[in-house]
Symmetry: D5
Subunit: 171 residues, 10 copies
């Protein structure tokens, strides 16, 4: 079974459209692209975070934020991409986490079929559980291609979601 | 036949991925979104342009450009969106064309499976033939989701294509 | 009865003005444009919002905002357009709403004869009633052509209105 | 005869729309607004320009440009505003023109039913004839509300027109 | 009596300066320009504001602000212009005011000999009295030509004044 | 004779306007401000420029430009300020001129009653004669208060003038 | 005694350096430049501020701020310039102060050998004493040439100092 | 022992890579570069800060911040550079510190193998101990090359860390 | 043999520096990071480019440019990263190349020890040979960490290199 | 002999000024700062440039430019700093020069008493002679403190100088 069959049956029978995907190798090429976009299902988020060092007893934790982490995801409703940036802030609990792992955690949840409200929620909960954070705040902003292409009111619209837990949930 | 079947066979068998598209109505919702994105096949580009007024004999034509015409298209190789803006300039031949029709002409070619090099070429040729232009220059710039999600070197890349004919082909 | 008759009687009897609208098809073309700008009267706002998923009992709601939703409306006093952007924020009550429906709700109220103070109020109330939001905040900014063309002090003026209800009304 | 009668017959019979314009004084208020927007018909463009001083015989003319002259006009096809800026450049012929009169010349042609291609042409010809310019170049850029409200591809589009005569027509 | 007489007696007797204003019509031309800049004295500020609609009993007032209202005024100390923008915010009391009248109220106070501290105070008091506002906040920023031309420290200086009353006076 | 007498006779007899300038010392204060704005008449432009060093015979001259030289002037037609920046470029002839003197030359011509077209012309000619330049190009851009306060089309307008001589006159 | 003698003894004996300052008139020219930069010592800050008008008893004072007042000073440690902007805000006590005098007060303290921490403190105290302010807040930002030229970490560094008294000291 | 030996053994045996570092002098040149990047180990941070002057008893301390202090450091985990800016704010305790020493303190800690969370912590503690500050707040933002080159999600990411002590720890 | 041995011998014997790289796993972690940065040696540039479609005989080629392709490389002289963007433009010869392959070609040459002058040259030659381009122009801009950390004059410096061949070599 | 003696004799005898430089160590501290600013005299520009590699016979040279090279210099006329950026472009002759040496060459000429016209000329000639360039173009832009502090017209002025030789002298 090939994507072009679904396309022909459900979307359009225009020959100019179908010829692109009837050629040898087209279906495999598309499947490879989607496998990359959905690679997050292969990752166990609980194993992503690493410890840089444990805090000393009584040591002040400070505040850490990685801003403008790029992400690409696929809308779970329309099978179309949405993409943008995540700002991931946390107050360390008993350990400082490896900085490079924070974008990987975002990536692990973004490379799935998602809704943007759940993306920030899932990252926040993982930071608290496997990251042992004292508090976490996750903000995202994104453009949704399922929105953009469907009317003038959405051409410039940018969607923001935010989720906070623990010591950073107050503000 | 449903999209979820192709997904399961060609991309991923992860249950968390497949459940989104197994539910009642999901396949129709996706098909509707793609029908809008591919609506250009329903349009005959040769019938889009309208004449505002004919030039007087010997009248100087002036110069007209509609810049930053937004477009959304789908990459004919990876089944993923690319989108950006077109700048469409022309020097009138024997007539001034309705301004509002220029974005519609772009839309008619963009809402198809496309490659960005052909988008500007097809718009330019149509402006010469049914628009009777003395010259035309079409520039586009776009982000390709098939590129963006696949490596750091492409995250910020913007692709430009340009095609010119007639009196505007010289520069 | 045609628009040109009103124009001739109430605004100007200059032949250069009137000839544009005396020609065959002019009145229909204008009526079509205004029908699109007033299409909001055809929409029942209470039926626009859709549920993406219900929150689990005790689940934290998070925060969602779609910013820079473009809108075009017609000033109910001067029959001239005003246009700009709406930022629509809400804290979910018992459900997460479909993101793509939020711009449509704005559109349903904007494509009417409006005053900008009521636009934000009507969107906010609808989010509380049919959207079951815990709180909502609607901000708009717009240029009014009835203002802009009438004096130097208004050429750069931008009008902001804001209306909030429920948990987001405090700040 | 009132505007609301045309509205009811040609555009919409929704009572919420019509009530705004049925009230006492509404028709007069709208007519006053349109009279201001169409005040250019009252002005003889040939009488606008004034001479600041005559050039000495053999004096080099220099180059003068007033940029970003704001204008508001009404689209002669859709009865909807378009607005933007004009850059008006000229090389003096035998006289230097009063700077403050250049925006007034633009205003005289803009406050009419117009198409943007003619606006720059008419200003340019007037600068040559009653302004005795050696050369003139008129550029405009504008947003058209008849475009903006009708599809995603036009939401960000900006239309440029240009017309040059005499010594500035070469480039 | 003419302006050039004062100029010759009080400022400079340089013939190159005086010749400009000795010519026929010069004094009238200048007087006309100053009459426009001082037209605010002809306006009764108490009659400017209009009511769009009365609030329903118990209706929440919302918040309205017109930002970047351009103004030009003349410094009451040095007879030189100062100009800039006013941001005028109010919380409605028992009525929503016509948006277009807010810039006119600013204009009525600005087109006088003024000091910038009084401009915001006078606008604020009028909004409370004839506008029946629950609260008002007026901010202005301006460049003063009496300052700018007199030393390097003032070349970039921008003066801000602010005055608030009622429910908006707290913050 | 005082300015207030002219004001009362030619512009307005409103007591609120006149009281500002009837008080002790007002006339002197205004005269001082205008004397500073017109101080250019006291300066002999031919004596402003100084030589930093003579070029060696056959030495390449290079290219020098002082950009964004601020200036304030008074419109010779309306007695109102205009102000902006001058970019002054030259190709040395037989000498390199003191950099700090270039803004002073602009100041010497700007602090007079001027028209903007003459400001650039006079500076250019002085650079050729007393500055012995091989070529010179003077560009200015300015806002004119006589324009800005008189209609919406001029609120954002910026006037550019340019004058070039010698080796820099070609482009 | 001349500056070049100190230079030769304390800094460098390179002939190429010393020749610039050995020539006739060099020492006087430098002394004149430094006298201007240190002119603040000639000014009694207590005499700078002027009263525009006294507040009425019970009149609300409003809020006034002159932002981006340019200043140039000389570092009291390294004899090298530092320069930047001051934002000077005050809440009037019993009088409104002449706006043009606020930059002059800054200038009186800046044109001395200074440290940036004292500049804001001295201006603030003077505003309270001779300006009778209810509260004052002075912020400055500056580049220090003694810093900039001495290492990569300081090339982009900008130093901020702030000092507040009275009613504006709380925040 | 040379770096090229490690490279050959641990990273790549490609001859094109190795030839660069096998040539005479290469190892020394690299070592010199790294010595500069690690020069912080040679500095005793406790000796960096200098006193400009002691505060008078009861003198208000004011607030001082040096923003955008550039720094370059080497990631202690990946041997790759990270770099960015530090904003260093303090409220003086009993003394005002030499401004130029604050960037040097940052440099002393940055030119080491570091993690960005410790950089701000170590600077803050030193300001309290040897700087006798009443309070200190250190913010940094940086790009990490160990992150940037390894995936699309990190290409635009910017890491922020913050650490505050004493009177500035509250906010 | 480990990196820490080279570090201790050639750069620093400070224990605080060496301890980071003496711990278990440190050497492997660093080697992995460098392997990624040098992955270009594994790629045969001649096999990267793919053909989207062949041009028709006589078909006009148009113009294609991918701008802002991010790259990270390592300076072949100092073993320190340099990074920035490449703009890669070409005029097709007999074929249109797959857009997504152009960033990969850049990546193949950048992920090596490089000098920035050779990076653009090597990409350009490959576009001509295996890409069959009619002309190519490659521009790069980059920051070099070997420069940035070593003096104030280089902190803001950005290096540009450019190389063009064939039909695009003329301009 | 100390700087304070010159200061007292030539500039000011105000005790508040002199006390700063009478204290122990002040003269040495200032001398050290000036020695750094004048360190260019210690450098032989002819020895700065290094060869990265020789071009192959017939190899195309490409184009190289290092932009925004920061520099600080001291005005040879007023003993006051001027500073800004240099853009240094060259077309290689028989060799590619070490990139990091280009900013050092600028530094070697800038850290002297200079005039900005000579700075670009001296760098250009050195690039041709010891750098064996085919062509060179040097542009600089700078602020001069001897200008900035002396009048409103110079507060925003930026001085540009340019000097080109060989193959880059044509444009």
């Amino acid at each position: 079974m090939k994507l072009v069959e679904w396309l022909a049956k459900a979307v359009t029978d225009d020959a100019r459209a179908l010829r692109w995907f009837s050629e040898e190798g087209a279906d495999d090429r598309i499947a490879r692209a989607f496998k990359e976009l959905l690679a997050g299902y292969e990752i166990d988020p609980g194993s992503v975070l690493k410890t840089t060092r444990m805090l000393e007893p009584g040591e002040k934790p400070g505040f850490v934020e990685v801003k403008d982490i790029g992400f690409h995801s696929i809308c779970a409703h329309h099978f179309l991409p949405f993409f943008g940036e995540v700002d991931l802030a946390y107050e360390p609990g008993d350990r400082i986490l490896g900085l490079g792992k924070l974008p990987r955690l975002v990536d692990a949840f973004a490379r799935r079929f998602q809704i943007q409200e759940d993306l920030v929620r899932e990252v926040a909960h993982e930071m608290m559980s496997s990251g042992h954070a004292r508090g976490v705040r996750v903000r995202s902003r994104a453009r949704h291609l399922c929105m953009c292409s469907r009317g003038p009111s959405t051409e410039t619209a940018l969607t923001h979601t935010e989720f906070a837990l623990g010591s950073l949930a107050g503000d």
